[in-house]
Symmetry: C2
Subunit: 246 residues, 2 copies
Amino acid sequence: MLTKTQNKYIRSLTQQKYRKEHNVFIAEGDKIAREWLTSSVAIQMIVATEDWVDAHARLIGKHPEASLHTVKEHDLEQVSALQTPNKVLLVVERPPVETTLPLSEWCIALDGIQDPGNMGTIIRIADWFGINHIVCSPDCVDVYSPKVVQASMGGHLRIKLYETELEPFIDKVRIPVLAAVLGGSNVYEQTPLPAAVLLIGNESKGIRDVLIQKASNRVTIPKLGGAESLNAGVSAGILCALLKRS
Amino acid sequence: MLTKTQNKYIRSLTQQKYRKEHNVFIAEGDKIAREWLTSSVAIQMIVATEDWVDAHARLIGKHPEASLHTVKEHDLEQVSALQTPNKVLLVVERPPVETTLPLSEWCIALDGIQDPGNMGTIIRIADWFGINHIVCSPDCVDVYSPKVVQASMGGHLRIKLYETELEPFIDKVRIPVLAAVLGGSNVYEQTPLPAAVLLIGNESKGIRDVLIQKASNRVTIPKLGGAESLNAGVSAGILCALLKRS
């Protein structure tokens, strides 16, 4: 059961303001909930249907700190941020913010990524390619918005996420900084790098000029067809595949 | 102005049933609308705000077949399928279905892709890499759903889209068929191909076994980190970048 207040509380967490105020976020869906419950991250609430609770008693038992709410699917629909609500929703405590910036390790730096689907996809890409750090400019979408958590498929648990101004960050790093742009050098001619910062820009405006100026190299995925551009998440994936291969 | 009937008609087109019945689809947003209006495809309706109509008189003039409706932003919101409605929405006539399957040219074959964002992204990827054909199994999401049209960024105008059972199609093709799977051979060791079918599977179930058996090669993007999988659109992008480079 969920009280009216709890229902309202969970629904408020689709807004960044309330997520920050309460220092929590929402993780939804069977697969993602299992990933978070398997981790040692503190869970505040577990809201799930009876069959899900029954099937995952051991996993739930690992989190005595969480309040457990067994609900009907209809109740879950009311608090879900998903179009097709799933059998389980968690309210998770936000891990402490990473403060020591990575200055000499592989990292993706995001300049104003706005789409939560792209942000989640990029976290998942980093997680696949073993890139342990993502540095976000302050104007990026909140990395704990429900759609980002959904799209990263548990990537949040393994990737360190930072929020900082990118200019001073890039001034400090001691490794090559590659800016993904249109009209740069052919990325196929770039040999894989043992460490680098891959800079990805905003979906419509790209990377800000001041940052492009600071990059050691501007790389482009050569175009063979008629499209004007590639999606930011797909570009990031292709560039990681070409630059971070073992 | 839009009459009540027109308003209802446009809103009905978010459903595949009505899109098929009327043989039309919706294209929304400034950039995408301009791409479609620049083409020779027949437009049924142009619904736009006054400032947009004023700024694009010449483009609109190219489509005397279309009925023009100048509306307030509020009216556009009512018929829009987007969360953030734009200044223009088109009702476009569906191009004739492609029937002669491509048997010896580069092609992406999709086995049950469900997410419209992924479908649109894959059309955009094909459009970037100059892959002119996408063959969809009948259980794929409708390639003319509003979100697909949105995500393809005009790719529909350049890529030929087919719908057919994949088994007999693969039996007929005369080029290598590469199945994107987990646990296949390292795709970095595969040299780029002058022509191939790249087979991409459903987001959760992957490619059906019967199709994997028919593939000439099973390829995998090697994993270096902790993620369980990559998003279908991103995988398609990386594989195209590695296999279809010039």
